[in-house]
């Protein structure tokens, strides 16, 4: 463990080289540049102490973007003490945000570890693929966390699907077979659009409960339509719709949403008796 950097001459901050989607080279904020420059002249202990400051407005606070640069630098200088300490501090700061993203995953510890893996592979990448982390860390972490969530959630749905008894699996087929029947009753459906079935207050209070009991893909259809306001279908082919995303007919989506309402009402009835 070294107490002072061997080279005390001012070290310039290495510029970023990756270009953003506007074609411009990523640029750290001036605050981050100042923080890094100042940090590079500190001893290891001073730097760890400064990195441990949690209050963003406190003097000497180091943003996550600065920590990423300093972890890269300490790794390149083979300063294991500093590298490990700064990594621990950065991970501690990330923990809450990542835990939030993976909370709906059964294997949430595995998902958490995968986020950490991708994050630090980017931080230590020999090329410039991690530059965005030094510009907008929070957004970069959000992006990584959502991508990992997506992988795990997709696998989780598949696993559950495989575990379902065949009698349950055939229900999907029955839903699709209903399409023909639904076409006959299209007039009835249009008289009672699904989106008008709940009041906004009722919807809000039921939202969480509904999401607990609904199965995929009904659950996602419910979220996209009732919570995020996506249309079930549209005459505009460019419009992003629930049926387009779930690659099924609007009839089937309506069936699913009606099934969701039915399950929800039953569930509510059971819990209010």
């Amino acid at each position: 463990m070294s107490t002072k950097p061997p080279n005390v001459t001012p070290v310039s901050v290495e510029p970023l080289t990756r270009r953003n989607t506007s074609g411009k080279v990523y640029k750290r904020s001036s605050a981050v540049e100042v923080q890094i420059s100042a940090a590079l002249s500190l001893s290891d202990e001073e730097l760890v102490s400064r990195a441990s400051i949690r209050e963003e407005t406190a003097n000497g606070y180091l943003q996550e973007e600065s920590l990423v640069y300093l972890i890269r630098t300490s790794y390149q200088r083979k300063n294991n003490f500093l590298c490990n300490k700064l990594s621990e501090i950065l991970l501690t700061r990330c923990q809450e945000q990542v835990a939030f993203r993976v909370r709906a995953i059964e294997q949430k510890d595995d998902a958490f570890n995968d986020v950490v893996r991708v994050l630090f592979e980017k931080i230590l990448a020999p090329d410039n693929s991690g530059d965005f982390l030094q510009v907008r860390f929070r957004f970069a972490l959000k992006r990584i966390s959502i991508s990992i969530f997506h992988q795990y959630y997709r696998d989780q749905i598949e696993e559950r699907e495989n575990l379902r008894p065949s009698s349950f699996q055939s229900l999907d087929g029955q839903e699709n077979e209903k399409d023909d029947w639904d076409q006959v009753h299209v007039a009835i459906d249009s008289d009672l659009p699904v989106e008008d079935s709940f009041s906004s207050v009722e919807l809000e209070s039921l939202k969480r409960e509904a999401l607990q009991i609904l199965k995929e893909p009904i659950r996602t259809a419910f979220i996209l339509h009732h919570i995020k306001g996506w249309q079930i279908e549209s005459n505009n082919p460019k419009e992003i719709t629930v049926s387009g995303y779930l690659e099924t007919t609007p009839r089937t989506i309506r069936n699913w949403l009606q099934q969701a309402e039915k399950e929800l009402r039953k569930w509510r009835g059971d819990h209010h008796e």
Binding site: R18, R19, N20, T21, G23, Y75, N80, C83, N84, S87, E88, L91, T92, Q95, A99, R101, V102, R103, A104, I105, E106, Q107, K108, D109, F112, N113, V116, R117, F120, E121, L124, P126, N128, S129, F132, R136, F139, A140, R143, S145, I146, S147, F149, H150, Y153, R208, L211, Q212, R219, T220, I223, L224, I227, K228, G229, W230, K238, E239, I240, Y245
Partner: protein, 215 residues
């Protein structure tokens, strides 16, 4: 793949997209699909995952306490450090093995042979002799070896290893004879300095001042 004009990797687009809004928005999604139609499917998938990650309720799982999770994360970090270190070592070894020409190394840094010779305070003729190992390696001053190493970003040991190999033909020369060409004999570094017609007086004086140090 990154940074061709007008062409970006999915990574770059998703990074920028995640920064465009605090919350997932259908309107912003439509804008981004119009801008990057080649990533339409990925943008929609990402947006739905973003929505799901915010809206789905927490489920009980194998959740550890915070400290245990942090320690698990740190073990992952340690694995990545070790993996990266091993990759760096392999890369260093490969780059050492790949050094076939000092002049080529200089050209990779953007220098002509003249510029490279100027940087190490020698004439082009002597640089070429060094390149072709026509100078006896044991007579070459360590200062010059260090200077070459710094100039082409190589460890001095790599320069010594290069200069210590047998002499070779000058690259690019053509020989018509069926007989193998005779490679010139090696000469001492300071003899080469004395007999070179391209060096300035200052350069010659400087290098000859090091002669006693090598004896």
């Amino acid at each position: 793949m990154n940074n061709f004009i007008g062409q970006y990797s999915l990574d770059d687009v998703l990074d920028a997209y995640s920064e465009a809004s605090e919350i997932p928005s259908r309107e912003i999604l439509a804008e981004w699909i119009a801008r990057y139609p080649q990533f339409e499917h990925e943008l929609i998938e990402f947006t739905v995952a973003w929505i799901q990650s915010e809206e789905l309720p927490e489920i009980p799982g194998d959740q550890k306490d915070l400290n245990a999770r942090l320690q698990g994360g740190l073990r992952i970090v340690q694995e990545i450090y070790e993996k990266r270190s091993a990759e760096d070592q392999t890369q260093n070894w490969q780059s050492r093995a790949k050094m076939a020409s000092m002049i080529m190394e200089g050209s990779l840094l953007g220098w002509s042979t003249d510029q490279f010779a100027g940087r190490i305070n020698l004439s082009v003729a002597i640089l070429r002799k060094l390149e072709n190992r026509l100078i006896d390696a044991v007579t070459i001053p360590i200062d010059l070896i260090k200077l070459i190493g710094v100039s082409i970003q190589r460890d001095p040991s790599e320069i010594i290893a290069y200069l210590g190999q047998p002499p070779m033909l000058q690259s690019g020369q053509m020989y018509k004879s069926k007989q193998p060409p005779i490679i010139g004999k090696q000469q001492g570094f300071f003899d080469a300095i004395r007999n070179d017609g391209e060096l300035t007086d200052d350069q010659r004086t400087y290098w000859l001042s090091l002669e006693s140090g090598t004896e």
